[in-house]
């Protein structure tokens, strides 16, 4: 249990450092993001707070996951405005003066626009290469960013969406039954 607490503290520290760094370099993209260090908590995205940021645990990266599962457990979208959820990975890039770098992991869309569901993003070869080429990638404070966006260029009307604890899976964890 003390190991778990240590890991938890490390996540908080990582997230806080990374968020601080992002704010320090003045990237307006991240200023209104919610930062959560707790990987297992729900994430709430709304028209006023459409982004959430969370730490990516070391253990997740060491397993080289191939899938990111996003359980959209609840959505209030009375106007049925078509929306997508984008998932990014962001980290401080030492090759570019520790400026924040980001990689689009993928996007999912809600259909119909008020229908919850558990969605899958297949992590790209680019993501796998990133982990392979940088064995110490976890030290670069990687963060997962989830962002709610309308499909058409318009302001988001009032809406809120809850994403349950995200799950990183390796291909083998999608088990086959006999």
């Amino acid at each position: 249990m003390s190991r778990a607490r240590g890991t938890y503290r490390r996540f908080i520290l990582l997230a806080a450092c990374a968020a601080g760094l992002l704010v320090a370099v003045g990237s307006p993209f991240w200023l209104d993001a919610h930062v959560s260090a707790e990987q297992t908590s729900n994430v709430h995205l709304t028209h006023t707070q459409p982004r959430a940021v969370m730490a990516v645990p070391d253990a997740v990266l060491q397993r080289a996951p191939s899938l990111l599962i996003l359980p959209v457990t609840q959505i209030n979208n009375e106007t049925l405005t078509p929306v997508s959820v984008y998932a990014y990975l962001t980290w401080s890039d030492p090759k570019h003066g520790n400026r924040p770098a980001r990689l689009l992991l993928g996007q999912i869309s809600i259909f119909p626009a008020n229908q919850p569901g558990t969605f899958t993003i297949r992590l790209s070869q680019e993501f796998q290469e990133l982990l392979k080429q940088s064995p110490d990638f976890h030290q670069l404070s990687p963060l997962l960013v989830l962002e709610l966006r309308p499909i058409h260029s318009q302001a988001l009307p009032p809406m809120d969406l809850t994403i349950g604890p995200v799950e990183w899976r390796t291909a083998e964890e999608t088990t086959a039954s006999g």
Binding site: S109, T118, R122
Partner: protein, 475 residues
């Protein structure tokens, strides 16, 4: 003359390929030649953006939509009635998504043929990867293919991050059917895990077009049929062009959509998932939506053979060791067993550049009487408990039970599950955990589902088998 294969002919021809081959080998017969010719000349579903606005395919589609809209509401082929089939029956977010829509658009295509008298008609598809705007044939005042509820305009472009070639290539290279085509479900409208094809380009295009397309009445927009034809083209490309096998789980292959669709004459149709496997081989073909360089084009006969083999696909084990035991698992009582392994074969699965996999089969499983627990599998983790997180490097996978597992008709007394241990042992090996490579210690840990108070949790397992398999290959 009816150039399309009737369902009866199709079933006669497609499902008994062996018999047809025998007929051919024994000197040939007219039925064999006629059926073969029909298969060879089956209609080609084309990319709508490659067609001129006055192309007969587009003219027929317009004509068909006009005639369906003119049918009385009492006719099940009526335009709105067709959309209501989707509203009332469409499976989404589960593994019935692909075969159900395959059947749905096939019978729609048949109705178009019947109403227009054009039996060569093949429904075109909208390739949103190469043409990210709603194609020109769907626009214009008074055009039966137009739909005034759309949010997208003629110049709106779908985003590359949803439908671009890199995204689609990534999706089409996913080898696991449950990830590609959405997850297991025991009923047609049960929410499971939404697969990558459904959750990204499919859902996005529904929202992108908007209006009717953003709802379950989406078939009211003629774009719907060409959008789902593109989804169908993706499945055909994934399955037949790239040779990724569909699941052979009998809960999927044996599932019946009954009676969701109507045929060209408006009669109800009962359709089994396995009936749909051969549709793209015998009933239509596609102008390829994602050409793969360097692949040899295969004949219908070769594809038939592929699908037949695909349906019977099994994991081939290079070697395996089985341990017979009578194990009782319970929440709070995880089980540890050491399974012996031949050292050289074990090492071959531990090397990352080897394609061999180390698979654990948990057999002779009697499920709990209620589905309120699932089982996690760990390697070399004797202190594993239900609270051990799946981020733990010893975690290998999990398996769960359907409600129908408790039905004796489904053979509930001998369920078996496979968990791939390869990546876990590869991660653990550098940490010195397998100095003794003559055995693997596994833990089976029953875990209650979140927010449930498990009532009947006893799970019986009487067989563990550790095997080295080559990767799943169909060819």
């Amino acid at each position: 003359m009816d150039h399309a294969l009737s369902r009866r002919n199709f079933m006669k021809g497609a499902a008994s390929v062996g018999a047809l081959t025998i007929l051919g080998l024994t000197g040939g017969c007219e039925i064999f030649e006629m059926t073969t010719k029909r298969i060879q000349n089956r209609p080609i579903r084309r990319n709508i953006s490659s067609l001129a606005l006055n192309d007969p395919i587009i003219q027929t589609y317009k004509d068909a939509v006009t005639k369906m809209k003119a049918l009385p509401a009492s006719d099940p082929r009526n335009w709105t009635k067709q959309a209501q089939i989707h509203l009332n029956h469409c499976p989404h977010n589960n593994w019935f998504f692909l075969p159900w829509h395959r059947g749905y658009i096939y019978y729609f295509e048949e109705i178009c043929r019947e109403l227009t008298g054009n039996n060569d008609f093949a429904l075109p598809y909208w390739n949103w990867t190469t043409n990210r705007s709603i194609p020109a044939p769907f626009w214009g005042a008074g055009n039966p293919l137009n739909n005034t509820t759309r949010v997208a305009t003629q110049s709106s472009q779908a985003q590359l991050s949803a439908v671009g070639p890199t995204v689609l290539e990534n999706i089409l290279n996913e080898p696991n059917f449950l990830v590609f085509g959405s997850g297991q479900a025991s009923t047609q409208r049960q929410n499971s895990v939404t697969g990558v094809l459904e959750g990204t380009p499919h859902n996005y295009i529904h929202g992108f077009v908007g209006g009717d397309m953003g709802t379950y009445m989406s078939p009211l927009d003629p774009v719907f049929w060409t959008h789902h034809n593109m989804i169908e083209c993706c499945w055909v490309n994934w399955n037949l062009t790239r040779s990724h096998p569909n699941t052979n789980d009998p809960q999927w292959t044996g599932f019946t959509f009954s009676p969701d669709f109507v045929d060209r004459n408006g009669n109800p149709v009962t359709l089994k998932v396995s009936d749909t496997f051969l549709y793209p081989i015998f009933l239509y073909r596609f102008e390829e939506c994602f050409p793969v360089r360097g692949l040899r084009e295969r004949s219908s006969a070769e594809l038939e053979e592929f699908v037949k083999r695909g349906a019977k696909v099994k994991l081939d084990f290079i070697d395996k060791v089985e341990v017979q035991d009578d194990l009782m698992l319970d929440v709070g009582r995880p089980m540890t067993r050491a399974v012996p392994m031949k050292a050289d074969l074990f090492r071959s699965a531990l090397t990352t550049d080897q394609p061999n996999r180390l698979l654990l089969t948990i057999g002779g499983v009697t499920p709990p009487s209620r589905s309120d627990v699932f089982v996690r599998v760990f390697v070399n983790k004797p202190d594993a408990t239900p609270d051990t997180p799946i981020e733990d490097p010893h975690y290998a996978g999990s398996f769960a039970f359907f409600e129908s597992d408790h039905d004796d008709q489904h053979g509930s007394q001998d369920r078996q599950f496979i968990v791939d241990l390869t990546e876990t042992v590869r991660h653990l090996r550098p940490k010195g955990e397998f100095r003794d490579s003559s055995q693997v210690e596994v833990q089976l840990v029953p875990v209650p589902f979140p927010d449930r108070e498990p009532k009947a949790t006893r799970i019986r397992v009487n067989r563990l088998m550790l095997g080295i398999s080559a990767p799943l290959q169909l060819e």
